[in-house]
Symmetry: none
Subunit: 149 residues, 2 copies
């Protein structure tokens, strides 16, 4: 769990963050390691949870997805994070989700084509878990957008 990473691990992470579909041989060339050595390190980091997942950055604005909202969700009783993950991870409109402090149980970041689509996505979000109510804060304009890794 509290795995410590050496300089090579950090380099490999940076390469994977830059291109998650890079081959192990390619990464190895950049960090001066053989492909099997890279694979073993990546496997170890996957195993220890340092690497959570490999994902794809989809530019929804290229598809005209211009509507964005932060949604606070209030559940009936207590729900385990794993349940919420199971409920929402197949909803592509959900960019991120987290359980939070305060009156709300979870905070979601949702992307949609337009208001109608957002409405419809919210309905799917609500119906896929035992949700009491939700509160949406719609984004007017993005000021800063940094990749987090």
């Amino acid at each position: 769990m509290a795995e410590r990473l050496d300089e090579t691990d950090e380099q490999i992470l940076a390469e994977l963050a830059d291109n998650a579909r890079a081959t192990f041989a390619e990464i190895g060339q950049r960090v001066n390691l053989s492909a099997p050595a890279v694979k073993r390190r990546v496997d170890r980091m996957l195993d220890s949870g340092v690497i959570r997942t490999f994902t794809t950055v989809v530019d929804r604005t290229a598809l005209g997805w211009t509507t964005e909202a932060y949604v606070q969700v209030f559940c009936h009783g207590t729900i385990a994070p794993d349940q919420l993950r199971a409920a929402w991870q197949d909803i592509p409109e959900v960019v991120s989700a987290a359980t939070v402090t305060g009156t709300a149980d979870a905070m979601l970041h949702v992307l949609a084509r337009d208001m109608r689509h957002l409405e419809e996505a919210l309905e799917r979000i609500r119906s896929s878990a035992d949700i009491e109510r939700s509160e949406s804060i719609v984004v007017l304009s993005n000021i800063i957008e940094r990749a987090l890794s």
Copy 2:
């Protein structure tokens, strides 16, 4: 550029978002397509910019950044988005910022090493613009983390 995606494209995107290192054959099996057919669609989406990049979600606890919050900011009077961008873009703890609907003027996503660091970052955020008050919602655990545009 205003590329349209069919149902199969969406399915492929969902698979790639879930695991960017999945093989084309694997994806093809799930969407009932051959590997070359999947590749062609992925290539087209890469070409049109719909797929921006493949990346890796790193568990920031491994990097020592364990504290995360959504911060609603309330300004004195009206402030232009550009002013807020100028005020905050040099604060590295600010992962994203957007002006929003509702009672708050802006929503920030902030990352910090710990509570003390978050507190200190919030102080810098508040003092760099004409902020009346702010409301922080601290993340307990991340459920879904997809890199967004």
